[in-house]
Symmetry: C2
């Protein structure tokens, strides 16, 4: 047997996460630094992978090795597994390389059977406690290993409570529990046709296999897909001697973060329950006490725990999420890991830790996952607005959201996919609700604390969440919830504020986010490190102001088509489109000129001192005309009803022109600079407007820096022709207005032909701006409008594509063309400035790619500018965030 599959905790360390899983590696590390960790062993992820490689069979030698290592463990602890005198009981927990909370299954109290049960009763002198453990064990084991449904056991428990006329499990006495255990065993027999396994070693081996098997349960697969965790890592299995938090009031269990995971504040943050097992805290079934209260209830334990927290934070140089249990006045640490945190907490902790000298600036930058900043850049409830707060729960995940109330995850997913904004309302959430949480705008639960499932998951996803809002009474059947006399029905709109815990009836007006001082500090650090400039995509002076506020150094994409869409201009634009002669077209363009000029005046002024890349008209002209089908309906109706002949004639004439401009594939049609190849006067007007605005500003002493961007170029000759025209007009305006300015003309690179002939094109360009949205559409042959609604999801579900390529740049395909285009362009024109202005310009991994291939800048929506600043710094610092939520 060449492979070592089973490690004693003292044989491992924190670096061995790949082999021992995160939990196992940290248990080993803590064991080695002398913390009170219940002893145990870890079965490697390799064993799990070999299990799958052999068709879900135990790999050769594993069973023997487990037995060997169990023998060592028994010796060290002084208890024997299955012993009828002093039996060893175990907890079996999964632990993959990346933490997957709630996704994998756990079994506690393994080793119990009728005989060992008696032995433990004798040892503890607490029959009720032991029987309670026994019934929990049967229940958990049956669920995880035997795949029996939870409710089959719950109904037994309920029946027993009903029979005894009590409300809580804790009110059942030992006699009751004895009956329950027997009834549970009968359930197993009835459902499986076999008795509940009594041999502890058989229990253990079955449990190990079940943990292996749970690596591929549906929830785990979904979680991995959502979090982009590879499927072939496998999970380790941690076998640890049991300690009990539920042996009486000198016992307890809890979870704590070394700093506040919601705000980042440097105080212990957590919850505990007296006389409970660990699962009771995280499952959110009983609402626990805040950790500060432990100082009163168990001051010595609290002090010891606080010291350990401090030690672990110094040791790992990172905020820790620690599970502990107190068994009869003795503290045990069951787990430590880097704590998940909200984006704002991540920022504060990173910045604080630099201040505390724990980590350096570069490390601080890498400590914040750029993508998560999004949640801080969301809008929040306008504090000056009037709104009707109907209840208050725990502020579990910051941000505000409004949506239609739904009461189950499937419904949330259905409506969410249909484009509805929904708010998922549950008594509590479980891993089975993940798909609903993904689809919802926000989460509201009536039970559970700050570390309940809903809270943890929502924070991870950056979704607003209010937890433990006990004031709301949910009736799933009737699809309503009630707050006192107020009844809220499914479909009603409710808002939640995850920063305050407020639950609000109806829609609430929201305001734009502001950057906190820590956020500003972090971005300051990022700016020191990053090498790429960050610009914004902005079409209006208001957007430009917002972009500067967020630190954009210029506008990388100013679209001009929205200016054509303005209601009062549309008739003139239509006049221009429908013109039959160049003269008529120019007459309409002449009317548009002063309007465009004032647009550019405003935006160039707002961006004083920074470049503004103005993209000339891009969409096909029929986008500015009435809808063809609606016209057809109107005409058919007019004909049917013998309506006004003149109107009919007019509509028919309009329809004729709309048809003339109709395109089968508008995405690949008469648009972009093709419009100017056919009608040069359109771009001529726009260029004149740009430079007239520039001249006007320069005369007013404003440093206006326009750059003209030609879209959809396929050929150097096309660009040369349009560039020549633009330069000529720019010079003419210079002479007319007697001012001086630099003239820069560049191009979007957004078609494969432009990428492969970028060397030729670069000869006529001052800059390349990669339009990766269109480039993705043409490179993959995916119309975004069609793909996202129709087949893209199939591609992701069937794992052909890892991500939506319109969100995350397809580096393996589109990226090759981008790199080719950038390299060829630079080789031909070393002065060429190269950047990206597609949506990918605000997506962290795509930004990393842009850095890697040496781009000069990225441009993204104003709200993503901070993300881009951080992601660009992380790329320059040589990696993605080190605090992955994975």
């Amino acid at each position: 047997m060449a492979k070592k599959y089973v490690y004693l905790f003292e044989e491992g360390n924190a670096e061995m996460k790949g082999l021992l899983g995160g939990k196992g590696a940290n248990l080993a590390e803590m064991t080695n630094i002398g913390l009170p960790v219940p002893q145990g062993v870890t079965i490697t992820t390799e064993a799990c992978n070999d299990f799958y490689a052999q068709g879900s069979k135990m790999p050769e030698g594993l069973t023997e090795e487990i037995k060997e290592k169990m023998a060592i463990l028994e010796k060290k602890i002084g208890k024997k597994f299955g012993d009828t005198e002093n039996p060893l009981l175990l907890s079996i927990r999964s632990g993959a390389k990346f933490s997957m909370p709630g996704m994998m299954d756990t079994i506690l109290n393994l080793g119990l059977n009728d005989q060992t049960c008696q032995a433990v009763i004798k040892a503890t002198n607490n029959e009720r406690f032991v029987l309670d453990c026994y019934r929990r064990f049967i229940q958990m084991f049956s669920g995880v290993v035997l795949s029996l449904e939870h409710h089959k056991f719950e109904s037994v428990l309920d029946a027993q409570k009903a029979k005894r006329g009590v409300h809580y499990d804790t009110e059942l006495d030992a006699g009751d529990l004895k009956e329950v255990v027997e009834a549970f065993k009968n359930v197993v027999k009835r459902e499986t046709g076999m008795g509940f396994p009594t041999d502890p070693m058989e229990q253990l081996l079955l449990a190990v296999q079940a943990v292996f098997g749970s690596w591929n349960n549906q929830r785990a697969i979904v979680y991995r897909r959502l979090n982009q965790i590879p499927d072939d890592l496998g999970t380790a299995v941690n076998i640890q001697s049991m300690v009990f938090g539920n042996m009486g009031d000198d016992c307890g269990t809890g979870v704590a973060f070394t700093r506040n995971p919601s705000t980042g504040e440097n105080v212990l943050y957590g919850e505990y329950l007296i006389n409970a097992q660990g699962e009771d805290v995280v499952a959110g079934i009983r609402t626990p006490q805040p950790i500060a209260k432990l100082q009163e209830e168990m001051p010595a334990i609290y002090r010891q725990f606080a010291d350990i927290c401090n030690l672990l934070e110094q040791h790992y140089k990172n905020m820790q999420d620690i599970e502990f249990t107190v068994e009869k006045g003795k503290l045990y640490i069951l787990q430590t890991r880097h704590g998940k945190r909200t984006a704002s907490a991540a920022i504060k902790i990173a910045v604080d830790m630099v201040g505390e000298g724990l980590i350096d600036k570069k490390e601080a930058i890498l400590r914040v996952e750029a993508g998560t900043l999004d949640q801080l850049l969301h809008r929040r409830i306008d504090p000056s607005a009037k709104f009707n707060v109907i209840a208050k729960g725990l502020p579990a995940s910051p941000g505000a959201a409004s949506g239609r109330v739904v009461f189950n995850a499937d419904e949330a997913e259905k409506l969410g996919q249909a484009g509805e904004k929904v708010l998922l309302v549950r008594t509590e959430t479980t891993p089975d609700d993940i798909h609903g949480i993904v689809a919802a705008q926000g989460i509201l639960t009536s039970r559970g604390g700050m570390t309940s499932h809903a809270a943890v998951v929502a924070r991870g996803m950056g979704k607003p969440c209010v937890c433990g809002c006990e004031a709301i009474k949910i009736d799933y059947e009737a699809k309503i919830f009630a707050v006192d006399n107020l009844v809220v029905k499914e479909g009603d709109i409710v808002s939640v504020d995850g920063a305050t815990g407020q639950v609000i009836l109806g829609q609430v007006s929201m305001i734009d986010p502001k950057l906190s001082a820590e956020f500003q500090s972090l971005l300051g650090l990022a700016d020191e490190i990053r090498t790429m400039a960050v610009r914004a995509n902005a079409d209006t002076p208001a957007d430009a102001v917002k972009a500067r506020e967020f630190g954009a150094a210029g506008i990388g994409l100013c679209r001009t088509e929205h200016m054509f869409m303005a209601q009062e201009r549309l008739p003139i634009v239509q006049e221009m489109i429908l013109a039959e002669t160049t003269e008529d077209r120019e007459a309409a363009l002449d009317k548009l000129l002063p309007m465009q000029q004032s647009d550019f005046y405003g935006i160039l002024k707002a961006m004083e001192g920074f470049p503004v890349y103005i993209r000339l008209l891009d969409p096909p002209l029929h986008e500015f005309l009435p809808n063809q089908e609606e016209l057809v309906v109107e005409i058919t109706e007019l004909k049917c009803t013998k309506g006004d002949k003149n109107i009919l004639k007019e509509k028919e004439e309009l329809l004729r022109k709309v048809r003339q401009l109709h395109e089968f594939n508008p995405m690949l049609g008469h648009r972009g600079c093709r419009l100017a190849v056919t009608w040069p006067e359109i771009y001529a007007m726009q260029v004149r407007a740009i430079y007239q605005a520039t001249a006007q500003l320069i005369k007013e002493g404003v440093d206006a820096q326009p750059e003209v961007m030609i879209p959809l170029v396929i050929h150097e000759k096309e660009l040369k022709m349009l560039r020549d025209q633009a330069v000529e007009i720019a010079k003419t305006v210079q002479t007319e207005q007697n001012v001086k300015y630099d003239i820069h003309v560049g191009t979007m690179i957004e078609l494969p032909r432009a990428c492969v002939t970028a060397d030729e094109i670069a000869a006529h360009a001052d800059f390349f701006s990669f339009g990766t949205n269109d480039l993705t559409q043409t490179t993959l042959g995916f119309s975004r409008d069609d793909a996202e609604g129709k087949f893209l999801q199939d591609y992701i579900n069937k794992k052909i594509l890892a991500d939506n390529p319109f969100v995350v740049l397809d580096q393996g395909g589109v990226g090759k063309l981008v790199k080719m285009g950038s390299d060829l362009g630079r080789q031909a024109n070393p002065k060429l400035s190269v950047g990206i202005c597609g949506e990918h310009g605000g997506e962290p991994t795509s930004i990393g790619f842009c850095h890697k291939i040496g781009m000069d800048y990225v441009s993204c929506s104003p709200y993503r500018v901070p993300i881009a600043r951080l992601a660009a710094a992380q790329a320059a610092a040589g990696g993605e965030s080190s605090v992955s939520t994975k």
Copy 2:
């Protein structure tokens, strides 16, 4: 002065076409082999280019050099330019590297003025002849150099004829011509404000500049665009001493081919006119005599000419097109060049010349322009059909055509672009009609011979043409032509048979072409030389049979969607599309299975022994559903008229589904293998049908060789998944049917992503078939349906693109991706077979590209298979056709 701009004929040779133009180089060559060529000089194309480089000014030193060389010429000839005793008269003719017939301007009799005119009268003792020359010279010079309109002079001539009551120019006597000359001079004075230039050297220099200028006249530009001749070659100017074919009945002029340019038959073929100048023959104004008749009229001249023809053909090893003039019983050769010929003549001549030992096989292959074979592969009139021949003209360019009669080129172009088939009917054509000829299906003229403008141009373009059909009387005004009492109006349908000269009223049924014996021989030679296989695109057994007839070695693209379109199947296909569940879909597919199987049975049987690449379903499913707009109209009408509620409901339900499947950009939508990613059962049915048909055939002893082709692949995982499914089904059928066959699965490469990741994709493919139509659409971002009707022409007119990229592969852009895909694929999978199945697979220059990058095969429509065989051979022989029409 570093550059030599002017060459005496004896200083040049046939190799110097680039510098001296084709005409000049051949005049030099003939001079040097001792033929009776009137002496002269050639001004180089370099001089023309320098002329343009200097803003249309004579380059430095050119004027002086012309004068120097004129002095040498005068000395050799013994006449002096402008001399009042023995004046030298000149012909000035353009001559570019590539012959551009009728495109450039010629001036004869230059050097005449009132004084030299008298001197020539004295020398020739023929006043009428000299005055006729003089008036022709004024007319030509005024047209070419002074840009005065022809009709201004014609009306003077007409007035003089009217005044004298005569019909023909020849009936005017010397006195009349004297008046005409004076009147012509007055026209010049009136129109230009200046007198007609009298200084012969001034005439010469103006004429030279006019020839240079004519390089960029509109006709020349259009011709070059049509024939893909670069604009920067420039034209040479040939200055040659005049000889006169119009000095009396011992004079004449003619044009002859050394072999029949229409059939290739090895006999002298041409025409002449007694007492005429060269322009009279080619202009088609007088109908000339066949060359054989010269043997009777001037036997000695005929013999001498025939000997020279023979000598020239042996010298050039190619069929020659020779102009000659007889001046007072002495033969002069004015020009020789490789003769244009129809495709069938080119074939016969090439094959014959191999037989005669004049050229080798490789040369023979290069002698036929592959593109021109198209005309032989057109359908011709079914000889067994009944049709109404209303007239007969000269069989000027073979092939048959039907179309609506139009009487002018603009109208022909307008209707042609609108998709109408038109027949251009003119008394005669001139270079100004080129655009109409391009747009027409065929040409019919009432005047002019086999070498008239219409005949030459039509043969060059491979269009059917009937010339000199004097029976038809055209009335342009009334837009009719009459044949005796029959009146044919504009818009009536008429057919012409350019092989027989027949003019037929109405549409005629046509039959498929057959390959002549010579054609078969040529293709046999081609097959010996080429290295690429040639396959056909064919979807039916009938097409497959045709493809084999034309020499296709297999089917490179068998589309399966047409099989879905068959009327009786469409309801089942719709049932499949509208199915809401997998079961319903499979039920419909089960009904389609036997139909598809019988389709494949037929086509595999027809292609016995050859591979058949079957492309699985490609188009988006909504193509099989009713039109959305029509449905909307029906529903609106039903609502308006309060029609049947049930029908309305049914239609509304259908509309809902049609809308669901509607796509914004169907080209980039849910089609190709994406259909199978979503609904694997569709491809599963098709693959089963393919292999069940194969099994059936193998049992019948037929060697069926299907290969499964997956369209629109973007990612290796996608192909792997679909390949695995196909292989599994193929193996299942093998087991079920107990037969053995090879299983080949490959893919179309038709998206840029497939090209740049071809190495990954090749791991799962037995072959790559480049779909260059879709690849062109996505690489350029051009929807073919939209581009060709809307903006593509602008791109060609503005010289951004040289050709329609859907016709001629865009080697500079799309070609780079094709090469990348092919190279990457081969590197990763050396056994990969690589080919092309887009329309480009039948286009000669694109085929050349395919050869160059090392493809294994091309596939094209059955009718283009012979073209592809030849073009593939030419590529292997190292070049395009050597007999370019350029």
